[in-house]
Symmetry: C2
Subunit: 573 residues, 2 copies
Amino acid sequence: MTVIKTEIRRGAYFDSAVLMKLQRSLLELPGVQDTGVVMGTDSNKDLLEHIHLLSPEAATARPDDLIIVVSAEDAAAASAAVGKVDELLAARRPSEDTTRRPKSTEQAFKMLPEAGWILISVAGRYAAAVARQALRDGKHVFLFSDNVLVEEEIALKQQASAAGLLVMGPDCGTALIGGIGLGFANQVRRGPIGVVAAAGTGLQHVTARIHQLGGGITHGIGTGGRDLSEKVGAVTFRQALDLLSRDPQTKVIVLVSKPPAPGVAEEVLKLARQAGKPVVVNFIARANSATRLDNLYFVNTLDAAAELAVELAEKGTGEAEPELGLERFAPGQKYLRGLYSGGTLAYEAQHILTGYLPRVYANAPINKELKMPNANISQEHCIVDLGEDEFTQGRLHPMMDNDLRIRRLLEEADDPSVAVIMLDVVIGFGSHPDPASELAPAIEKARAKAQAAGRFLEVAAVVTGTDTDPQVLQSQIDQLKAAGVWVSTSNEAVVRYVGRLLRALEGAAMVKSPFKPVDLASLEKPLAAVNVGLESFAENLAAQGAPVVQVDWRPPAGGNERLAAILERMKQS
Amino acid sequence: MTVIKTEIRRGAYFDSAVLMKLQRSLLELPGVQDTGVVMGTDSNKDLLEHIHLLSPEAATARPDDLIIVVSAEDAAAASAAVGKVDELLAARRPSEDTTRRPKSTEQAFKMLPEAGWILISVAGRYAAAVARQALRDGKHVFLFSDNVLVEEEIALKQQASAAGLLVMGPDCGTALIGGIGLGFANQVRRGPIGVVAAAGTGLQHVTARIHQLGGGITHGIGTGGRDLSEKVGAVTFRQALDLLSRDPQTKVIVLVSKPPAPGVAEEVLKLARQAGKPVVVNFIARANSATRLDNLYFVNTLDAAAELAVELAEKGTGEAEPELGLERFAPGQKYLRGLYSGGTLAYEAQHILTGYLPRVYANAPINKELKMPNANISQEHCIVDLGEDEFTQGRLHPMMDNDLRIRRLLEEADDPSVAVIMLDVVIGFGSHPDPASELAPAIEKARAKAQAAGRFLEVAAVVTGTDTDPQVLQSQIDQLKAAGVWVSTSNEAVVRYVGRLLRALEGAAMVKSPFKPVDLASLEKPLAAVNVGLESFAENLAAQGAPVVQVDWRPPAGGNERLAAILERMKQS
């Protein structure tokens, strides 16, 4: 007959590793069938109930209480096991060198003055106070503890960012700093890829995959899962992105997170856009309407992020960005006028431009708020599809008849606010027998008109067709190029060039980081740290050759939180 | 002094090509400065006004009226030009062989009995009647005309799909059938890629790019831009997709459209999923939260669609799909239980599974309606992240302590509805020193329990780590494989395998096309057609070596639409 015996230790604090070892030792005792050794939180009690170990006594335990449950063959075995608890707890570290064990973080930092880091994995309710003290001492914080209040997180990150320090976490599972893994971390080679992640196993999986694929990591910076929420505002994420942007060793950056709050995502992407290097973005499960936006590459899985980062680091982006020649334009020239004959090309152009310009009007707009009130009258940036029904009733399609487009082109050239005309030339059966022969002279005329008025008019064109088309692709390209047109057979290439040009003409504001920059050198110098909490974290640092001091930490005021709070307030004042 | 002279021809019908030629001829007359020759629609009148050619007289014209406006140096020149209109219209075809010009489509099909197609480009208000008659005659319809009512489109497509015929359009600019271009089309080589497009220049641009990249096309089927609307319901798009799926020459399919109505997109993608070949999907501007879903590949630009299609046609998908071994499972086994230690891996798994399963519950769900009421009690498909706060208060993280996961694993193995257990094994510093040494025996035990009960339990695991981690990646993989686990280092690969397996176990219903299948042979036999409308379309077919008869079409009942409607009703009865 199974007998269950429960013991509750009121207000006791134990390291979770100690509890696991105790549970395993109890299981090995004679007659013991199962054991549970957990703090008395509601979820732990649910769990004990689920595995039939919750006695009425255990049900009354509070979160601060330690519950020890033993189920055994008989009452004697159960009592014997519970009677061994103190002995087992005492026996846990026979060979410990207690002289290396300072009782406080202050003492620890005195023992290891080169330590720039603290690792904190004590229970969440004690963690913020430990972190706060370390920030005051000028240390970066790796905060593994979970169950830290979001208000505490905000306050800690405010304190840190004003001082040029990082708070990775709370609930930050992993980081790789200069080749050294903190918390849970894989041993990966160093290399040109930097990672910022608000997702612990996300960072582990991506860095491990990069290593498996032959790549390597400069730094992998964790931020904690809440960092990209509206409330926290991506403080650590932005600090880390800024840091890796400045780091000359980092050639490619990878960003990993669950979908951020929308406004926060915008801010982060603005910053990423000016990183000056490729940034692979994996906001898992966030829908993307583009896979590429200049230096940003959007992917949807961790594996894809790793693969693309390795490829970009090895081969580069494979493109030289075209020169923009901004100096050619006169002040006030800033608008795009798109004059399309192909509706789909016009639509795709609008779609791609959403990544570059705040709004582009159109007669066939991608969303109806952007509809031009009158397709004959251009306004701001706009794209006119001259093949829309309104232009083709009782009239030939603009692929056959260039008349309307040429009239409009010459009209746009007179507008001093216009900088760029973008158009398509679609050849093939059905189209005009030689459209460039009419368009190229008109474009030359338009450019000359602008030049006469002291302006420069850029004309960019996509040519759609083949070498076997009656009009011959290359002949069309040559005629347009001779008229000074920027030509490509890729609509995407044309639109991205025009997008970059207009964005530069508008003088797209650089986002300035509101934080004191984190000193890059503080990540590059050999890592040394103080560890508070899970001893295995200190052991792992030592195994990687990083100097570490383990603090023999106990809850302040013996776990009495009211008293602890009073003590901390006294310290701050 | 500029003089403007206007002439209105009431109720006159002219082919738009004729009007363009007239306009150009008038421009060449002495003293003429500008001309406008258009039907009197509101948008054409707006346009005349915009270019300062709209006289008060022209402003009164109705859509059926032809407006001829001439601006000239003086009244004499203007009058002389307008006086020439009849002569210019009469002179337009001196060398025409009128014996080849039947007056009706019926006569035309008698002259060219092998013609399986009709091309229609007459004014929209006349087009549906012509199409209706051709469908009755068993012909596929290429309907270039725009300004056709959506109700007409629905009726035509209903008629066509019941008869195994295609109506491409209205407003279908282009098609490529067996190497022959219809309407506006580029000359592209034949090859293994089939395209379906609700976007005219989309089809042209994609096929031209495929040709430029060295690829080729089986068929390019246009549907008209409205086909994927809720009202029309993608009738032609689905017929075409079904056709290309059955076509053994087509190895890769490309789908191009502006974003379809959401329900319609779902239907189309369901059908595409069972195509049995790779399908590249470009629903321009539609946001995708995945770039891949089994045989579906999502891209966002026409250029990317072309590039990927050529790559897939040349190299294949580069993967052999793993065998599912469905016969191993007992009836009733259908559910997934995910037991994760890594939160991000669990989250990504849920995200990827949205493409496979209607719903997957979780304790940390990707959307809150899918939250498990109690994380200790599994329900249907569910994924439990054992590293969530609720499991780690005063307890070690499951990466360190396998106890909780092993308990749960054995419990799930007893559930007769469970088919698959999916889990992660994350190694590295901080993690358990040899997790597989505890997990593998537990998995063997779980599988044995299921087997003893006459069931088969599939266990699939992602292992995250490196060869230099203390636990050694390969050692973990080997131990798990020895326990019969399906293992990969890619989370995506594991989840996709599991997704496919569960989808197959649920017996995901095949979508049956509700339409009479279009006969593949009708597209493969040498194309011959009757053309009604723009003569250049007939000329282009002839230039491509396709037999064609041009109909000398005039509006029925001399353009009197009431009378024409009565005549058509008489014909139908």
